[in-house]
């Protein structure tokens, strides 16, 4: 009730100051935000992610591995990450995965598509070698179409040369 009344007070004061600007929208937005604050406090105080959650896979294990220029060879760091990814997938067998291969912008469009496919396949093959069923995974290449970093220096390129394991919610049999 404390949270709710705070939200109502905020609503009231802001609503007054924005008298010409759509009271209904102000109410709606602040009401949602107020309620959300109360709920969002819980995970912050409890800390660690549940080991079987997709968030744990993405953040604690790491959903991506990086590659050197114009290569699809897994690095030692990459293999360590993938070993943990495989372990997670072998534990959480109801999930599927799409493995996206990406390239940095230094290359022609078609070649980068083929290079991204190589990177995605390298990850898939490694996960299969660690016991993950081939049929749970699909690979896709985005070439240089979807950089995550937008600068044109190695600092960004090194993060864009990646393969990302995207966990799907859909269960497999």
């Amino acid at each position: 009730m404390k949270t709710l009344s705070t939200a109502m007070l905020l609503t009231a004061s802001l609503g007054l100051s924005a008298c010409s600007g759509g009271l209904f929208n102000q109410n709606d937005r602040l009401g949602t935000g107020g309620a959300g604050t109360g709920i969002d406090n819980t995970p912050v105080t409890t800390g660690a992610l549940a080991p079987n959650s997709v968030a744990y896979f993405n953040q604690t294990i790491g959903d991506r591995v990086l590659f050197a220029v114009d290569t699809s060879t897994l690095t030692d760091v990459g293999r360590a990450t993938l070993a943990q990814q495989a372990s997670w997938l072998n534990t959480n067998t109801s999930f599927t995965a799409i493995i996206e291969g990406h390239a940095d912008e230094q290359g022609t469009r078609e070649y980068n598509l083929a290079l991204g496919a190589r990177r995605a396949a390298a990850v898939r093959d490694y996960l299969v070698s660690q016991g993950v069923a081939d049929g749970r995974m699909r690979t896709v290449t985005f070439g240089k179409e979807r950089p995550i970093e937008v600068c044109s220096t190695e600092a960004c390129y090194s993060k864009n040369r990646r393969a990302v394991t995207v966990i799907g919610a859909g269960a497999t049999s």
């Binding site: 699809s72 799409i98 912008e105 230094q106 290359g107 022609t108 469009r109 078609e110 070649y111 598509l113 083929a114 290079l115 496919a117 190589r118 396949a121 390298a122 093959d125 699909r138 690979t139 896709v140 290449t141 985005f142 179409e145 979807r146 950089p147 995550i148 970093e149 937008v150 600068c151 044109s152």
Partner: protein
């Protein structure tokens, strides 16, 4: 495909003309009068004037631009407003002359003499030309024209080309009849005729470019297939921006476009009918990805890259469907295939040597011959429509170039250099190359550029565009 525009869906946004689709490109005007499809664009050729000059002209040094001359000076020309012969044609009279002049000037081969310099004007299309007035301002070529409106939203455009200093008409007068919304095409046809008569080679102005229109931030770029006139006008979108689309390519007659789309979440090849904007997936083998498609010169088959697992090879399949034929079977990357204009050979890129290089093989696969041996990496080869050259993208020491080489790899010439140039496409006459230039950094964006194969006349054509494909000359 239908000639009846009324059948089209509202989203199809008919192009101002659909000549190929309906057949009958060039017809004499008398035969066309009363033709049922009056709304269609007709290009009608008639003799405006009997060619009494032809034999006389032979005695003079002809007005000529040699395109292979490395030291071309732009030829000065005058293109006064066309003569409006009916009420309501005034705007067309000015606009037609403006587009003709822009086409010729943009080619880099001609230099327009500004109207302010004119001593006299053309007020009657059929009166004798006062050559002294045009010589005085050093107009070596003079383009005169007339335009009249006709019923049913038609206009009739006539033009003549004069060699001012020899006081001769150059070639016959021509007349074009078309719908008012196709007026730009008539201007392009006039400019093509002028270009052709003075260079002795085919023109390229009455043509279109299909490309990828880009918007939004670099890490979430929205892409749509779009089509425009060669000069960037009459832009129309052929797809929405809901999924990534890449590298559209015209069919040989310009009626269809083949491209790569992620609409299933995975790259697949689609064929799109330009007139109806209906599309269908061409290649949908489960668990594979396909991209980099290009038509064979006969328009019946398509060559493309297919990725299975980590490996990308070249395949060919009929546009009508059926089993694909595998053209390469190497563990390396084989992509970016392009047919020779006679359909007998395919040039492509492969990293089988360790880096991206260009190779030529027969149209059904087999042994391939490496043709690129310079420093750096070579990709996206495209065979010229004249058959004499191959355009390519080259990466060397952190820079990108568009270049051309002979089909055996000799005579390499780099035409451009920048942070990122790629994806050349040829003008219908094989004299100009359009390509993508991308700028660097967070605000980096793509712009379509063109450059002559001489390396001169680099021009920005359209901002927010990539992956151009130039159509054949329209009929």
């Amino acid at each position: 495909m239908s000639c009846d525009f009324a059948n089209m869906t509202p989203t199809s946004r008919k192009l101002p003309n659909e000549i190929d689709a309906c057949g009958g490109a060039l017809q004499f005007w008398d035969a066309v009068k009363g033709y049922p499809y009056m709304k269609r664009f007709f290009v009608v050729l008639t003799l405006v004037m009997a060619s009494v000059w032809a034999s006389v002209a032979a005695a003079q040094e002809p007005l000529r631009i040699e395109l292979d001359n490395p030291n071309i000076e732009p030829l000065p020309f005058a293109a006064p407003n066309f003569v409006a012969e009916t009420a309501g044609a005034d705007q067309f009279a000015a606009d037609l002359a403006r587009v003709v002049a822009a086409d010729l000037s943009n080619s880099g081969l001609f230099r327009e003499i500004p109207k302010e310099a004119f001593i006299s004007n053309i007020t009657s299309f059929d009166s004798p030309v006062q050559f002294a007035d045009w010589k005085a301002i050093n107009a070596q070529a003079l383009v005169t024209g007339s335009v009249s409106t006709a019923g049913d939203n038609q206009i009739v455009v006539k033009f003549r080309l004069f060699d001012v200093f020899s006081e001769q008409q150059l070639g016959e007068g021509l007349q074009f009849v078309g719908s008012t919304d196709g007026w730009r095409r008539m201007a392009h046809k006039v400019a093509d005729a002028v270009y052709s008569r003075i260079t002795g080679e085919g023109g390229y102005f009455d043509s279109r470019v299909v490309y990828v229109s880009e918007s939004g931030p670099k890490n979430a770029r929205a892409k749509r297939i779009a089509i425009m006139d060669y000069d960037g006008e009459n832009n129309q979108f052929l797809t929405t921006d809901q999924s990534i689309v890449l590298a559209p390519r015209f069919s040989p007659n310009g009626n269809r476009v083949i491209y790569t789309s992620y609409e299933t979440g995975f790259p697949k090849i689609y064929v799109l009918d330009v007139g109806t904007v209906s599309r269908q997936v061409l290649q949908d083998q489960p668990g594979t990805m396909s991209f980099a498609p290009r038509f064979a010169p006969d328009g019946q088959s398509v060559v493309y890259s297919l990725t299975t697992g980590s490996n990308t090879d070249l395949y060919k399949m009929s546009i009508a469907g059926g089993a694909p034929a595998q053209l390469t079977s190497d563990p390396t990357i084989e992509t970016a295939p392009s047919f020779s204009p006679d359909g007998s050979r395919i040039v492509f890129e492969s990293d089988r040597s360790g880096t991206q290089q260009l190779y030529v093989m027969g149209a059904n696969g087999g042994e391939a011959t490496r043709i690129s041996f310079g420093q750096g990496r070579y990709g996206t080869p495209v065979w010229s429509p004249r058959g004499d050259l191959i355009a390519f993208t080259k990466q060397n020491r952190g820079r990108f170039h568009i270049g051309v080489m002979n089909t055996d790899g000799s005579g390499e010439r780099l035409l451009t250099a920048s942070f990122l140039d790629e994806g050349p496409t040829w003008s219908p006459n094989g004299r100009v190359i359009m390509f993508t230039r991308e700028t660097s950094g967070e605000g980096g964006s793509s712009t379509l550029h063109s450059v002559d194969i001489s390396g001169r006349n680099l021009r920005a054509v359209r901002q927010g565009g990539s992956d151009p494909s130039w159509s054949p000359l329209l009929k």
